[in-house]
């Protein structure tokens, strides 16, 4: 399966556009394409692919790696489409009966996803002791009537991040009862501390498997029909890559990869490791933080389609402001968005001969960009300047909120609507506008590193010292990254966080460590 790195193709499927780029071994951009995302998604992918292949011509056979970022999984959850019914297994009896699995889920989503829920005895304490022995018989009795009726099982055990033993034994039971073809999602491979959120993520993972399988097949057939023979990687929500086989097992991790990709792309295009990244699209703007070369992750629970999860998602502030946001007068005041002219910007905006004042018109009026016909801006008189001032203030406020400290930080602007952002933003030490800013997403996907992460509770007393504990955490994270395909020679620790547990007399510490490295280039 190993192929040495030559040309890489990055594809990013977003809500509005599908972007594709081709980069050479040194990371130089050879081709880029941007097409509207098609309703069936696949046609958009093929169109973007053809766009870049037309530019590189005969070199297409040199494409060795394909990096793919997609919103398929998110859309499937939001639209409740193509979801698979799964058996929901919690190993947490009797310690967690007080809140049953899927409590609080929207009823129609629960109906679409769950073939039945059970809580069997077992689970771990925070210090690794068993709460109760795992009850394999109880699990077998629950699964037997489901044989032939479910294709997936989601297993979540209490403190799986401390001990995964009961989850692994449950997987054996599921295989024996339901057959080896039934896929089992285990929570310790998916989520972090917080049983309910991890359980939700594990159930979503189990239910999404067919969606990503379908994407995989569409992608394979698109690549095959263009005579491309490359290794395929999927972008994850933390800005790193996973192998195609990994994505098939952990489809839930593809959710939210778009913002992570644009933050990584911004880092790559500027060479900056710590900055605020502003991604301005047609309808909205995402403001995130680049910390040590990676998107900073949110510490609050993330909701997807009404379900609380603890996914590793970038910490973002989203504003309903974009290049296509419509500017209008309302009750004697200037109002902006949330409606946008979207992909019709090049027809409906004033500067392009249309009759709808947009934020793009406001940016042109202020001299931030030289686009279209300035003489047509008169129709927006009295509206455009206050609208832009309002947008600037909203952006400055969001930039300030997303920062972790008072110190001014550099700001990197990417995305198709970048011209909206002024050259000076309060709280920003400088504003960077990299070349190829419009395809930062796809570039982010194609240059992403491969990562491994752990989130566990350690007992520094047992390991001898705090340093010994941190060493072990680093080693485990590195191991994970190398297993995922990172080059062992260059993999490094990119994140290390200690959160001591309150209340205990003997210290216990929750440690999160992440390692990442470039793809093993052979």
């Amino acid at each position: 399966m190993r192929r040495s790195l030559d040309l890489r193709l990055g594809i990013d499927v977003g809500g509005t556009n599908t972007d594709a780029v081709v980069l050479d071994r040194e990371g130089r951009l050879l081709a880029k394409a941007k097409v509207p995302t098609s309703p069936d998604v696949t046609r958009g992918i093929v169109a973007a692919l053809d766009g870049v292949l037309a530019v590189i011509g005969e070199q297409r056979s040199r494409i060795s790696h394909v990096m793919f970022g997609t919103t398929h999984a998110t859309n499937a959850i939001l639209q409740r489409r193509k979801l698979r019914r799964v058996a929901v297994v919690r190993i947490g009896g009797p310690a967690t009966y007080s809140i049953r699995p899927l409590l609080g889920w929207p009823p129609e989503l629960r109906e679409a996803v769950s073939a039945g829920e059970v809580i069997v005895d077992g689970g771990s304490e925070f210090d690794g002791r068993e709460i109760m022995p795992f009850d394999a018989d109880q699990l077998a009795r629950f699964l037997e009537p489901l044989a032939g009726r479910v294709e997936g099982v989601a297993v979540t055990s209490v403190f799986a991040s401390v001990s995964a033993e009961h989850e692994l034994r449950a997987a054996e039971v599921a295989g024996a009862v339901l057959g080896p073809e039934v896929e089992v999602s285990l929570s310790h491979e998916i989520g972090t501390v917080g049983l309910l959120e991890r359980e939700n993520a594990t159930v979503l993972n189990a239910t999404l498997t067919p969606v990503v399988q379908e994407v995989n097949e569409a992608l394979e057939s698109a690549l095959g029909s263009r005579q491309l023979d490359a290794l395929v990687f999927f972008a994850q929500n933390d800005g790193t890559l996973m192998a195609q086989e990994q994505a098939a097992r952990f489809p839930v991790l593809t959710i939210g990869s778009g913002p992570a990709n644009s933050i990584r792309g911004a880092a790559y295009l500027t060479g900056i490791q710590d900055a605020i990244v502003v991604d301005v699209g047609g309808t909205s703007t995402d403001i995130g933080v680049l910390a040590n070369g990676f998107p900073r992750e949110s510490s609050s629970p993330i909701e997807i389609g009404g379900i609380r999860t603890n996914f590793r998602m970038p910490d973002l502030i989203s504003l309903a402001l974009g290049g296509g946001s419509i500017v209008r007068a309302e009750d004697g005041r200037v109002a902006i968005g949330p409606q946008s002219v979207g992909y019709e910007l090049s027809r409906r905006a004033l500067v392009f001969g249309g009759d709808t004042p947009t934020l793009t018109d406001a940016a042109v009026a202020a001299g931030r960009a030289d686009l279209g016909d300035r003489d047509r801006l008169a129709a927006g008189d009295g509206l455009l300047a206050p609208a832009l001032a309002w947008a600037d203030a909203a952006l400055a406020d969001a930039v300030d909120r997303v920062k972790l400290s008072r110190a001014a930080q550099p700001l990197i602007v990417v995305g198709g609507g970048s011209i909206l952002v002024p050259d000076r933003v309060p709280g920003a030490s400088a504003v960077h506008r990299p070349e190829h800013f419009d395809v930062a997403n796809a570039i982010g996907a194609s240059i992403a590193m491969v990562s491994g992460q752990i989130d566990r509770i350690f007992h520094p007393g047992r390991l001898g010292s705090r340093e010994a504990m941190l060493d072990e955490a680093r080693a485990l994270a590195r191991e994970q990254a190398i297993r995922a395909g990172a080059d062992p020679r260059t993999v490094e620790i990119v994140e290390l966080e200690e959160l001591p547990l309150a209340y205990l007399t003997n210290p216990a510490v929750r440690v999160r460590a992440k390692a990442a490295g470039p793809l093993d280039s052979g």
Partner: protein
Amino acid sequence: MVGAAELSDLATGSAVLGAGGGGDSRTGLLMALQAIETFGPVRVVSFDDLPGDGLVMPCGGVGAPTVSIEKFGNGAEGRRLRDRVEELLGRPVVALMPSEIGGSNGLLPLAWASELGLPVLDADGMGRAFPEMQQVAMEVAGVSPNPCVLTDERGNVLVIETVGGRWIERVVRAVAVEFGARACTTEYVLTVDQARTATVPGTITLARRIGELLRGAQADPVAELLAELGGFRLIHGKLVDVERRTSGGFARGSAFIEGLGDDSGRSLRIEIQNENLVALEDGRVLASVPDIITVLDNESGAAITTERLRYGQRVSVVALRCHPIWRSERGLALAGPRAFGYEFDYQPVEELHAAVA
């Protein structure tokens, strides 16, 4: 009656009264939701609805917040506590009561009461959240903490007789760690007549009212809340720094807020030990325990617990008057500034505020 619809208001209000502590009120909310869906709504009653010599059982959970989001409980803990208390005292329990209204513990007794078919007394032991078990109005009023009953999710039950409240905290903490850093307890069981003066009355209704008010608030939820409760806004501003450290089993730290708008140029520091204990400006105390200091999100008015404080949040720091029982000599000895190691005497927040204004 508290049914499923009223629970989220109660959770919102419990978080506000929690003074930054009390843990994630969402797990408590989900537990109560499941119990009420299964066993039906809970009657919230006042003293006059109950026989004067009937037993009230204060109860709740203790332990590490990180553990309670992983191992939140069986649901039958309340029944086991109730059964053992009745057996020990030879009389029926007529109502449950939260030991602590703040955070998750404000909701847990509702889950248990729903299963037991018992009412919940509209009162609690703190009127807020405090870090230690003996920091309750019952201790101030001289109610015996014995018998203290402790249980875990498996069914282990322990009865503890101690020589005083401080020992409950020490022994329960040690046992709870053995149980897996979480336990459910009852202590300071008392009669309805005793409860009239030995608890903080009306706090379930108050928490619900706070939740309703914030849900329906229009322009400035914080101002509407303060007008209703007669509280004080110490500062309106932005969180600019949070320092954290853990020592002696407590999460300690400081939060710094810089004023915005009318408060431009001002800055406030909050001292934290699980809960927000003291608010200071230029070294001068603006509010302190046992008065309730809570950090509210400016837009929603929702409380931000101490572990979720982060740079950049737009907040109002507010202070609410504690119940008068905490302002007594015994109350201050138990939960005043000096009880937390500060070298100053308590002054009521309304006096401090009058001096500033």
